[in-house]
């Protein structure tokens, strides 16, 4: 639901509310203004208290109110919603039909759709069979997960029955929807056993091609705050004074199917060192995406010259999608610059110096780059497109 539509519904709710001092729509608007660091708590606290006492008829409006709400405000709204839904369930007044209509509309807030679905299941357990099979490519990762699980079961049954062609087809369909790595692994293993090929770099949207430069000095972890030359300019012909010698940009392409760029191998297992990694992502249009990064090292990330996040933690573990950074891409080439810092710990478990980065949507599905160009980037020395973005 877009904002105009929400305002119209809120206005309707205001007009039909004769009991409360403020209408549900007004209460919702008050709650949506809550901000970080306790901002707006007093008004939101009063509003959520009143909204939590609303009747079942208010639930559809409350579901619609999640659209465009900040993650914080969404939780305030969810608190009120759950209180009302719980009471409505006990009174057998849960508006199941409205919940189903809301849940299947992929334009609605993904989290709120899932909440509506879960409350729907409490009064209509058959909804799962009715709705989930159609949600393989849903914008909600949770819905996709359920749909993939069903397809996976179906594929496994076909494989067990010896129907190889049908099983491969079913596994492929399941893989289309899979965004969670455990499910991807569960699909890819039998697919490969059945002779099928799978490109996981493409499936997840990993960026395999990079230009690397380093090492720069990070003794005593002090380099994290030092703006070395690549932070000021991206000139791939330039050479700079590195930690121990002059350093220059080199091309690197990872063949790891999870897109891991192992800097300790690509360069050398330097300690107290920093490498910059740059690449270009051609976007078909201006769009919001998530850059999802996994690294056990400290890092800084720039997109088109703007610092989007920085973190100085070393060797506390790494995993796929460890960090989710929402960014705005422009149409055409977008520069991505990553600073990857290694400290000087000597323990065996503190030797990793690596990263993996992918581009995906909020559900975790890969956002494919626009056709062509990555090889152009690899071979360019001055990289005008990158320089342009800074």
């Amino acid at each position: 639901m877009d904002r105009r539509c929400f305002c119209a519904v809120a206005a309707w709710a205001f007009c039909t509310s004769a009991v409360w001092g403020a209408s549900p729509g007004e209460l919702i608007q008050q709650i949506r203004q809550v901000g970080p660091k306790g901002e707006g708590h007093a008004a939101a606290k009063a509003a959520v208290k009143e909204l939590s006492q609303a009747g079942a008829a208010t639930l559809p409006l409350m579901l619609q109110s999640f659209d465009g709400a900040s993650p914080l405000a969404a939780n305030w709204l969810l608190g009120a919603f759950e209180a009302v839904a719980d009471r409505s369930l006990q009174a057998k007044e849960l508006p199941a039909r409205e919940f189903e209509i809301f849940a299947v509309n992929t334009k609605n807030h993904a989290g709120a759709r899932r909440i509506a679905y879960e409350w729907l299941l409490k009064v209509d357990p058959t909804a799962a069979d009715r709705l989930i099979p159609n949600m393989l490519l849903d914008p909600s990762a949770e819905f996709r997960r359920d749909a993939v699980a069903r397809k996976l079961t179906e594929a496994e049954a076909l494989q067990t029955a010896g129907k190889k062609v049908e099983a491969v087809a079913a596994f492929r369909v399941a893989l289309q929807g899979a965004v969670d790595d455990d499910q991807v692994k569960a699909i890819v293993k039998p697919l490969r056993e059945l002779g099928a090929e799978v490109n996981l770099q493409q499936h997840f949207g990993f960026l395999p091609q990079w230009k690397l430069i380093g090492p720069f000095d990070n003794t005593d972890k002090k380099g994290f705050d030092v703006a070395y030359a690549p932070e000021a300019e991206l000139n791939f012909s330039a050479k700079y004074a590195g930690k121990t010698a002059e350093v220059a940009w080199t091309d690197f392409e990872t063949t790891d199917e999870y897109g891991v760029v192992d800097l300790a191998k690509a360069l050398a297992p330097h300690k107290g060192a920093i490498t910059y990694a740059a690449t270009k992502y051609p976007s078909e249009r201006a769009q919001q995406v998530e850059l999802r990064l996994g690294t056990p090292n400290a890092w800084k990330l720039w997109v088109n010259g703007e610092l989007v996040f920085a973190r100085d933690e070393y060797h506390r573990g790494t995993q796929l999608d460890q960090y989710r950074v929402p960014v705005s891409l422009k149409a055409g080439a977008n520069t991505i610059l990553l600073k990857v810092c290694q400290n000087e710990q000597t323990e065996d478990w503190a030797q990793k110096w690596q990263y993996q980065l992918r581009v995906c949507d909020a559900a975790g599905a890969a956002v494919a780059p626009a056709k062509a160009t990555t090889s152009q980037f690899r071979n360019s020395s001055s990289a005008p497109l990158i320089a342009e973005g800074r």
């Binding site: 809550v34 993650p71 305030w76 973190r311 100085d312 933690e313």
Partner: protein, 406 residues
């Protein structure tokens, strides 16, 4: 001496208050991690059925959780997380009498949820001030509900402090002390302690803390009156005595301390997991605490030390329970238990309750030597510190909440 007198006055004050208020508000509740005063010791005088490890009821839980249950009146509150990304946060309330679920609320994590596979997002234990539940998660989501599940306020501390996280997961439990909710969120990157107004959720103070991963939870040093209570914030740097209302650091012990087992307090003395155990005492008017003694042989493993009936009990890394004098750290006896242990022990009426990671409940009766009274295999992994309320012990795994005894 002054400190001793003050503490006696405080006990007298508490006794008077207990007499004037419903009994459960003081003696039968278990309102936060390691109990009302974070000592691990309950006021219960009869835990015979619990010591017999008689299961009164068990109920299934959703998702995962290492947090302790807390008990307020006749209600048990448990936090969990669920979902592939551990980003669904749950707070559930059960009837203490029969285990019936009264309500459950869920929310969405606003901070990073990654953790080591052994732990999970629902690692910090909730706290309660008698009117409100404060549910904290590793993702720095801090949720305040009333006892009926009505949202009071919601903070996303990682929204406020984007690097206040640990990729291994965080586990520090908040405490309510002297009318302020104190939250420690300490890690390698953005380490903080925050004092929050329990009623509004607005911060009263925020202070920087040592930038080092830390899984310890605060302890309480009772003052002459509740408003004089100090909260003790432990870190790799040591231990700080902090005024809960303002965040003012009153004193520091800066000789280092563990980042896993937490300090405990008994009779005005503080037992810090520091170079083994270091016993501290804070004298009135003194700028810094006095080191009473240090004993390197008393190094605790993951479980926090506990003082019961004037005896200090430490569970070491090998699963050996060491009993020492609180006066000088001299070991009185030791007994091997069946570990390994993540959960801290709790105690009441001279009985200690241990739950191993393998789900083995073990009851030790204190005396001239420790006696293992009873064991029972609960058949599930248990990493959570139990709670004691009334005559019962409550403990949870990922999947199950048990009431034992009562």
């Amino acid at each position: 001496m002054l400190q001793t007198l003050s503490f006696s006055c405080r006990l007298g004050f508490a006794a008077a208050l207990m007499a004037a208020t419903p009994l459960w508000t003081w003696s039968a509740d278990w309102r936060q991690f390691r109990g009302n005063l974070a000592t691990g010791v309950a006021a219960a005088t009869d835990v015979a059925k619990a010591a017999d490890l008689e299961v009164a009821w068990s109920v299934p839980l959703v998702g995962r959780g290492l947090s302790s249950p807390i008990i307020v009146g006749d209600r048990v509150f448990v936090t969990s997380c669920s979902g592939y990304r551990q980003d669904r946060l749950h707070v559930a309330c059960f009837q203490a009498g029969d285990g019936r679920q009264l309500w459950e609320r869920q929310f969405w994590a606003t901070g990073r949820t990654m953790s080591h596979p052994k732990t999970c997002n629902a690692a910090p234990s909730p706290a309660c001030d008698g009117e409100r539940i404060f549910a904290m998660f590793s993702s720095d989501d801090l949720i305040c509900l009333d006892l009926d599940g009505n949202l009071q306020w919601y903070r996303g501390l990682m929204v406020d402090f984007p690097n206040a996280s640990n990729s291994l997961g965080m586990a520090q439990s908040p405490l309510v002390v002297a009318g302020t909710l104190v939250v420690q969120i300490e890690n390698d990157s953005q380490s903080l302690a925050v004092g929050v107004d329990p009623e509004t959720g607005v911060s009263r103070w925020t202070s920087e803390r040592p930038k080092r991963a830390n899984w310890t939870s605060p302890a309480v040093l009772p003052g002459p009156t509740p408003q004089d209570d100090l909260i003790l914030l432990q870190s790799s740097a040591g231990l700080a005595g902090v005024r809960p209302a303002t965040g003012e650091v009153v004193w520091n012990y800066d000789n280092g301390a563990s980042t896993i087992p937490s300090s405990t307090v008994d009779g005005g003395r503080i037992f810090v997991p520091s170079n083994g155990i270091t016993a501290l005492q804070v004298s009135a008017g003194s700028a810094n605490p006095e080191v009473l003694w240090n004993e390197g042989k008393l190094g605790p493993g993951t479980a926090s030390p506990i003082v019961v009936d004037g005896q200090l009990l430490v569970l070491n890394r090998a699963g050996v329970l060491l009993c020492a004098k609180t006066d000088n750290g001299e070991t009185l006896w030791q007994k091997r238990l069946e570990g390994p242990f993540s959960a801290s022990p709790v105690a009441a009426a001279g009985h200690l309750f241990f739950f191993s990671e393998n789900g083995l409940a073990q009851v030790v009766k204190l005396g001239a030597e420790g006696e293992i009274l009873k064991t029972k295999d609960l058949g599930q992994t248990i990493l959570s510190t139990p709670a004691i309320a009334g005559k019962a012990v409550y403990v949870r795994s990922d999947q199950t909440l048990w009431k034992i005894g009562g």
